[in-house]
């Protein structure tokens, strides 16, 4: 399983960080090309694959791959 955040489109709104029931995401120091601070996947192992982050990310950046 894999959780990815797409740097290209993330606008740093932090909805994912707040929305994830398992606190999988966290603030990072990484900036994308627009200078936006994008979150990171901090605790992947806590993920319950509810995919709330996917539907809640307004910029469609998050992908949660469950089938491997």
């Amino acid at each position: 399983m894999n959780i990815s955040i797409d740097d290209n489109y993330c606008k740093g709104c932090e909805i994912c960080i707040n929305a994830c029931p398992k606190d999988v995401f966290a603030i990072s120091q990484k900036r994308n090309k627009y200078g936006t601070l994008i979150p990171c996947v901090a605790e992947k192992e806590n993920c319950i694959a509810c995919k709330l982050c996917e539907i809640m990310c307004p910029d469609g950046c998050i992908n949660v791959e469950t089938e491997v």
């Binding site: 489109y9 709104c13 307004p58």
Partner: protein, 269 residues
């Protein structure tokens, strides 16, 4: 990138023009999930007016009309009548749909024509920079109500239902799965469907209405301020906004269907 979006979104047009944390993207997601669940991508077209919320369809890998302010429903009616078998979804805002476009909502609902209207209510004119909309709460200080809004806000669901909409729901961007379901049902419903989404505009409504710029906090605020009910009562007195699937009336005949029946009858005569 969200793998489902790879199929539905024109990647070359990204990023969206929406501000960081804007609710429009969430509504877009919910709608895509609904279309995918129904498996109707190729038989569906989206129509929108003008406003931030009306910028949702142009990113779709589907047939889309991005039209003029307030008239999306009228364009959609023409499109629907010319292709009665297809699904037509309208994206519109509280200003687009209830201010300049109110009359088209009224008449489309009255006709019970089978289109699905998704109205994103962010309580403000986002696109033009934060002016009062028909849903702006009383006393809110916006760019055109510097001393507080004085007129009573309109309840879009109330208007749509009293005008004749046969399907009606309201959810928030904090209820993405319920929203997706409502959209799915609305599309499947054979008649005029009206779905309102209470959404966060962290930039403009954030400034003037919520005094809060964090999108998540606004989402939470809207959620807390609302209550889920299963029936719509006209004489509702609580000060919380009602959410839920309010109406699904199946005994009223749909407009295109009536015409088609008429034409069949004519041929037989």
């Amino acid at each position: 990138m969200n793998s489902l979006l790879e199929k539905y979104i024109k990647k070359e047009s990204l990023p969206y023009i929406f501000c960081p944390g804007c609710g429009n993207g969430i509504v877009l997601n919910a709608m895509i999930y609904a279309i995918e669940a129904l498996g109707i991508k190729d038989d569906t077209a989206c129509v929108s007016g003008i406003g931030c919320s009306s910028w949702i369809p142009p990113y779709l890998n589907m047939d889309v009309m991005h039209t003029i302010h307030g008239r999306a429903i009228a364009f959609a009616e023409g499109l629907k009548l010319s292709q009665p078998d297809k699904n037509i979804i309208v994206f519109t805002g509280d200003g687009d749909c209830l201010a300049i476009g109110g009359n088209h909502l009224l008449h489309a609902a009255k006709r019970n024509i089978n289109i699905t209207v998704i109205m994103i209510n962010n309580y403000i004119y986002g696109m033009t920079g934060g002016q009062k909309s028909p849903t702006t709460p009383i006393d809110a200080k916006t760019k055109t109500s510097p001393y507080g809004a004085i007129d009573n806000p309109i309840d879009g669901c109330g208007v749509a239902m009293s005008a004749g909409a046969t399907f009606c729901s309201r959810w928030t961007t904090g209820h993405p799965n319920q929203l997706k379901k409502a959209i799915q049902e609305g599309i499947a419903h054979n008649g005029f469907s009206f779905i309102e989404v209470l959404s966060q505009c962290p930039v403009q409504a954030g400034k003037s209405i919520f005094k809060e710029r964090d999108p998540w906090k606004i989402i939470q605020y809207i959620r807390k301020n609302s209550t889920i009910t299963s029936v719509w009562e006209d004489e509702y007195k609580e000060d919380k906004i009602r959410l839920g699937n309010f109406k699904k009336e199946t005994d009223k005949r749909e407009y295109c269907e009536k015409i088609i029946t008429l034409k069949k009858r004519m041929k037989q005569e």
